[in-house]
């Protein structure tokens, strides 16, 4: 009997330890991170030539080395080593984006953050700022004389997102969001121009559906539902104003106030009307983008980074088949046609404990060159000044740059001001909103409940 009891206890202990093991898997890989710098002095002069300090940096991001910003960061590091400081070395680590906050939080708790790492602006970065884990990059850029290289719009956006009057992160994009549409499908449904107001938008949705075309598509699969909450956000902001989500996060309004509920309900109504097609909860952002380009859906909410997909050869709609329109206006006095949902993409932070003059010189090179390198190699704007122009700028890239140029005001994405718990609730339950298992009232109540429960 004792043997049996012991066996039972051992088997249960084994199972629990297996479960506990799930959460620890991310903590080990970076423990070997090393950072060495042979010279440091807080009073260094950064106006002269780079002193070629010996420096090894660990850089962790969510982009593979051969993809997107991964190419860019590695190119700048290589250029810095080849052209400026031969004593500079770096180790590049890829972190899956779904694991980013978990891994960085765990490493921050263990005081073992990489020298430079990708992170999320908004609420997540505020926690690192409050814990004193990351460098005040705004102050450092002033010290090294490079603050002019980050554009005022990017600086302003980052300051707004972190709620500070300095920046603690480097932008890796200056993005706008909005609706991309398939021109051929619009034409097929007899729509001559993209909608400017929400009423026109809804009329167009109806026309598209009547023409046998799926009007809308969005990312609705688990883990990618931000594509759907962005649509709720678009309606909310246009109805209540650019600061609607901020007000709710700061307690000046409740998520359950009528305007927020009505906006969520409107999206639920669109889903109930079949505008999102069948099984929207299983559609990934990538699949949604493909559906737009292949002519299987007419309208897709996404950011300006989607221009990268449109520029590729996979775009069945061709170099001019997809158009863009900003979120249609409900009340221009609250949120106008030149107010865009803007963000700086995933951002880069610097670990405070490993920051030294070696990092500062690399930082200086990084901010002074990334604008030009990004424009030359990708034809993209990263939130830095640039002198060169892309040699062959595609129509989609130009379209994005033109739209960014029109912006006079900005608002953030749905979860930018939410804590992790509230954000996850919003993203999980939007699936239920789209299937009709929750109505607008219930959806916003679930968000408010998570907000009230969060410490």
């Amino acid at each position: 009997m004792k043997k049996r009891a012991l066996a039972t206890l051992m088997s249960t202990v084994m199972v629990v330890s297996l479960i506990a093991g799930c959460g620890d898997s991310t903590s080990g890989s970076a423990s070997s991170a090393t950072s060495t710098s042979s010279q440091t002095s807080s009073g260094s002069d950064f106006s002269g030539e780079d002193p070629k300090l010996t420096k090894h940096m660990k850089i962790s991001t969510i982009w593979a080395e051969d993809n997107d910003n991964g190419v860019l960061i590695n190119k700048i590091a290589q250029d810095y080593k080849d052209n400026v400081n031969p004593n500079f070395t770096w180790e590049y680590e890829y972190i899956p984006s779904a694991d980013l906050t978990t891994k960085i939080t765990t490493l921050a708790g263990a005081d073992d953050l990489p020298d430079m790492f990708a992170y999320e602006s908004g609420k997540p970065i505020v926690e690192l700022i409050n814990a004193g884990k990351i460098v005040d990059i705004g102050a450092e850029l002033k010290r090294i004389g490079s603050s002019d290289y980050v554009t005022p719009s990017a600086t302003s956006l980052l300051q707004t997102l972190s709620g500070t009057n300095t920046i603690y992160d480097l932008p890796l994009g200056l993005n706008i969001e909005g609706f991309w549409y398939n021109k051929a499908l619009f034409q097929q449904a007899g729509i001559s121009a993209p909608p400017a107001t929400m009423d026109e938008f809804e009329e167009d949705l109806k026309k598209l559906q009547d023409a046998g075309i799926q009007p809308l598509v969005a990312g609705g699969a688990s883990g990618e539902t931000w594509g759907s909450t962005r649509v709720v956000n678009a309606v909310t902001v246009r109805t209540l104003g650019n600061d609607a989500m901020k007000k709710a996060a700061e307690g000046q309004a409740k998520y359950t106030d009528q305007g927020y509920v009505d906006a969520a309900q409107k999206v639920a109504d669109w889903a109930a009307a079949g505008y999102f097609g069948e099984g929207i909860n299983t559609v990934t952002m990538n699949a949604a983008g493909q559906m737009l380009m292949n002519g299987q859906a007419a309208i897709f909410y996404n950011g300006s980074w989607f221009a990268g997909n449109l520029n590729s050869e996979d775009n069945a709609a061709g170099p001019d088949g997809i158009g863009y329109f900003n979120v249609p206006v409900v009340d221009a006095s609250k949120s106008g046609a030149t107010d865009y949902s803007m963000n700086c993409g995933n951002i880069l932070c610097l670990d405070k404990t490993k920051y030294d003059d070696g990092t500062a010189w690399f930082l200086k090179y990084f901010v002074e060159h990334i604008g030009d390198v990004a424009m030359e190699t990708e034809g993209t704007v990263k939130g830095y000044t640039y002198k060169t122009q892309a040699s062959e700028m595609s129509g989609y890239t130009k379209l994005v740059l033109d739209e960014i140029g029109k912006a006079t005001g900005a608002f953030t994405w749905y979860e930018a001001t939410m804590g992790a718990e509230v954000s996850k609730t919003a993203q999980e339950n939007v699936q239920l909103l789209l299937t009709g298992d929750m109505n607008g009232q219930q959806y916003m109540e679930s968000i408010q409940e998570a907000f009230d429960m969060a410490d």
């Binding site: 049996r4 039972t8 206890l9 088997s11 249960t12 202990v13 084994m14 199972v15 629990v16 330890s17 297996l18 479960i19 506990a20 799930c22 959460g23 991310t26 906050t101 978990t102 939080t105 765990t106 921050a108 708790g109 263990a110 005081d111 926690e127 409050n130 814990a131 884990k133 598509v217 609705g220 699969a221 688990s222 883990g223 539902t225 097609g277 069948e278 099984g279 929207i280 909860n281 299983t282 559609v283 699949a287 493909q290 559906m291 292949n294 299987q296 804590g419 992790a420 718990e421 996850k424 999980e428 339950n429 699936q431 239920l432 299937t435 298992d437 929750m438 429960m453 969060a454 410490d455």
Partner: protein, 294 residues
């Protein structure tokens, strides 16, 4: 040998290294989890002693209750499906299948060696509805059952069932092979004697095979329980816990709380609850074992 085993120092020499390792790897994390359960926040970032607050919170947390219900339903259906159908397959191999036995057994076992993520991706494609119909929906549409075409993993009513089907399919071969081995150990004489005595198929199973197979069925149940109580990776791969929280298990919720919400203390309380659930489950399975001893 008796001299060696009578020496306490020799016993300590054999046992201590394994015991120390076991303590470090298994027992210490549980003790630390218990200690963490009295704190809020994340160690190293924001870490405060809160007493019993985390334990009290458990009772008012509707998401915890939802995850518990999902977990219990999943355990119940998957255990019955894996072991029950595994037993049926084993009986099929032994009594009815005459040709291609090895090939069919290999095919049945094949899903066991597939990585969970690959199985999740495979079934996501089978259940697909957008942008194109997957295998299941195509089949339904083509045989005139268009009204049954469904977003199988995208709707609350069907997501958990779809996940359960996948996990039963993935493990059925494992249990079938174990139980087939146990059936082969039963002497043909016993089975023939029962047949001569006029036992039909059901009686043969009820009075001969089932009692003789009970130890191995209990073993299979324990394997299945330990696999299902920690329900995590297959749900993560197929549904991500959605839609909403329809397929989110306790361990997935614990992971969210501890590592996404940065509430390691509250996550530890949930882990302790799972620990208690394991004890309860193991005890229930142990009851069948006890009955056998009588």
């Amino acid at each position: 040998m008796r001299k060696v085993l009578g020496n306490k120092q020799a016993i300590a020499l054999f046992v201590l290294p394994a015991f120390i390792l076991y303590t470090i790897v298994v027992i210490a994390p549980i003790v630390i989890s218990f200690y963490y359960s009295f704190f809020s926040g994340t160690p190293g970032l924001k870490w405060e002693f809160v007493g019993m607050k985390n334990f009290l919170r458990l009772f008012g947390d509707s998401r915890f209750l939802d995850a518990l219900i999902v977990n219990l339903r999943y355990i119940g259906f998957v255990m019955i499906g894996q072991v029950g159908l595994g037993l049926c397959m084993a009986l099929l191999f032994r009594f009815w299948l005459k040709r291609f036995k090895n090939l069919i057994r290999t095919l049945m076992f094949f899903p066991v060696v597939l990585p969970t993520v690959a199985v999740g991706q495979l079934f996501a494609k089978i259940y697909e509805i957008q942008p194109n119909y997957g295998l299941l929906n195509s089949l339904l549409a083509n045989i005139g059952l268009r009204h049954l075409v469904h977003a199988w993993i995208g709707e609350v009513d069907t997501a958990l069932g779809s996940l359960i089907v996948m996990d039963i399919w993935a493990a059925i071969g494992f249990h079938a092979v174990i139980l087939y081995g146990a059936i082969l150990d039963i002497s043909d004489d016993v089975i023939e004697a029962a047949a001569i005595d006029g036992a039909g198929s059901f009686q043969l199973f009820r009075h001969i095979l089932a009692p003789l197979l009970r130890p191995m069925i209990i073993t299979c149940l324990i394997f299945s329980f330990s696999g299902t109580v920690k329900m995590f990776e297959s749900a993560k791969a197929l549904t991500g816990g959605g839609p909403g929280n329809a397929t989110k298990s306790l361990s997935m919720y614990m992971y969210d709380v501890a590592f996404n919400y940065n509430k390691v203390g509250y996550g530890s309380v949930i882990a302790l609850f799972i620990f208690l659930m394991c004890i309860a489950g193991s005890t229930v399975i142990g009851l069948f074992d006890r009955k056998e001893d009588l």
